[in-house]
């Protein structure tokens, strides 16, 4: 199989100071899903904007299905679809009108646009809402409509920029199922996400991005092997007993525990067994935890494992150029909540 997307040493600086991409390279095999995983401001959106010909890289080059995104941008545009975190659809138009418009701007014939609009509305569960303006849509419906519009020209390569950020659990699961359906149909997908779980579920390969660089790349299994399969969070009454407990529990984990105030995080292999052992050991020392949670590793844990530090939530260079700063208020708490509650596999 050949590569659908090749990015080589992409660099982009905004406003002379904000270094959004600092030499990013990756390749995406045709017909697979590739996940760009990283916190706000890591440069994920900038990479997508370059690959979709919206902005030019300062250095490096990128090809989509063999076509250069700068010198052959027109050809690239006719092969790709883009849907994103900010559903860029017109809220004064109906769902059907939006899909029709995007189809026409892809130079499809009217009857083809009309037929596909009906098909796509049905496929994305929007048939009943198709003739209402988007103002009446929920957040999840808008994302689905945005995805539907991105598919109207049946793109060979689809870019999904944080497709589920800010959605509730059910909408997220719906969208995941729809994306999985696309991949079964042979579409190549580049997905950006802040959720390890999302990348894990959808992507065949994942690149972890931080400060404009790829800091790790591999299959979800490889990435998780580095982490330990599960994380044990133990809360204690005070920092002193937390330090104490960390020492006691050290040998239960696959890695040294990290202490954050009066709570401990411990990567473990076999969750239930490790949990039982941890409780026994705490009990043997007459310690009682205030909280005790087994959870899936989050993006935060990936970063901790890879960089030794937490994801820092800073101004997003992508958002800074996003015309009026549509805020991205989701930081670490959001990542963790997403991973903790999203264990529906």
């Amino acid at each position: 199989m050949s590569d659908a997307i090749e990015a080589t040493n992409l660099e982009k600086t905004f406003g002379g100071t904000v270094r959004a991409l600092d030499g990013v390279s990756f390749t995406v095999e045709e017909g697979t899903v590739f996940g760009l995983l990283g916190p706000n401001g890591a440069g994920k959106t900038t990479a997508v904007r370059i690959l979709t010909t919206i902005v030019r890289p300062d250095a490096g080059d990128a090809r989509v299905l063999g076509h250069d995104v700068v010198s052959d941008a027109g050809r690239v545009r006719s092969l790709i679809g883009l849907a994103g975190q900010y559903a860029a659809v017109d809220e004064n138009l109906t769902g059907r009108e939006n899909i029709f418009m995007v189809g026409r701007l892809n130079h499809l014939a009217r009857d083809v646009c009309a037929r596909r609009a009906t098909e796509l509305l049905e496929r994305f569960g929007l048939s009943d809402a198709g003739d209402r303006t988007l103002k009446t849509y929920s957040g999840g419906m808008r994302r689905r409509l945005d995805l539907a519009a991105a598919l109207v020209a049946r793109p060979a390569v689809l870019f999904l920029d944080e497709p589920t950020t800010g959605l509730d659990l059910r909408s997220r699961n719906d969208l995941w199922e729809m994306i999985e359906g696309l991949v079964d149909g042979g579409t190549t997908v580049l997905l950006t996400t802040q959720y390890l779980e999302e990348a894990d579920r959808l992507a065949r390969r994942i690149a972890v991005v931080d400060h404009g660089r790829v800091i790790s790349e591999g299959t979800p299994a490889q990435l998780k092997a580095d982490l330990g399969a599960t994380v044990l969070d133990v809360g204690l009454p005070d920092p002193a007993s937390a330090a104490n407990a960390a020492e006691i529990l050290a040998k239960v984990g696959t890695k040294a525990p990290t202490i954050d105030g009066s709570s401990i995080e411990l990567p473990v292999d076999d969750g239930p067994r490790a949990a039982m052992e941890a409780l026994r050991m705490l009990d043997a020392h007459s310690m009682t935890p205030t909280t005790f949670v087994l959870r899936e590793p989050s993006l935060d844990d990936v970063f901790l494992a890879l960089t030794g530090k937490r994801t820092d939530v800073e101004d997003d260079p992508d958002a800074a150029t996003d015309n009026g700063g549509r805020g991205r208020g989701r930081g670490r708490a959001g990542d963790r909540a997403g991973a903790a509650t999203g264990g529906a596999r």
Binding site: L79, L82, Y86, L93, L105, H107, R154
Partner: protein
Amino acid sequence: MTTTAQTTTTRTGVPADNAPTRPDGGSRLGWAIADTFTVVRRNLIVYTRIPEFLFFSTVQPIMFVLLFRYVFGGAIRAPGGGPYVDYLMAGIFVQSVAFGSISTAVGLAEDLQKGLLERFRALPMARSAVLTGRTTADLCRNIFVVGVITGVGYLVGFRIGAGVPAFLAGVLMILLFAYAMSWGFAVIGLSAPNSETAQVMAFPILFPLVFASPAFVGVNTLPGWLRAFATHQPIGVVITATRALMEGGPTATPVLQALLWCAGLLIVFAPLAVRQYRRRA
């Protein structure tokens, strides 16, 4: 294009019925026009979805008609001596389309803000269609506004002095000017950080041009320096030309000057708008 039930997929993964609408591929210009039409259609649909906008974009000109016809009109003697309402209407028409062109700025700033223009950039559409589509849709709106004002003018006593063809030539003059102004305000819309700012940026530019002009009073009462400005600035020139066409009088020189201004505005602002679109969107 024929419709096929089954789409076959080529090697690159592009389904066969993704072929361009025109079998010969169409010319670039042909596609640019088709894309413009799509964007115009979208903008006009949006206008119909917000009827308040269309309504209020005619209310203000109507209030100006009534204000000057019934409040100030009695105290103003029309230069040339005819009924003041006949003098007034050319000014009202030009003032209305001039202020109306602010909506070009606001509309583009809004599309930019919402990320719609960014999505357009990832589509294989003609780059220019976003701007030509917007300005053309605003031209359609101006035709509507000019129609409504003509009707209101008729109700308050406005009569066409120079015959219907000359009046229609005057309307064309107004619409051409409105179109040229839209490009100027497209530049503002694409330069503003958001739509609210686009609106407040536009107003101080228009205000002196509209009111330091022969729109409502003859310029002979103005101090010399202001009279020179009022007579030669674009809105002043276009009002004089429109008035000459609608009311009668020597038309050749004012119309030529007005056409030159419109051409000048287009030549300067259309490329600037395109450049700003490339930079911002």
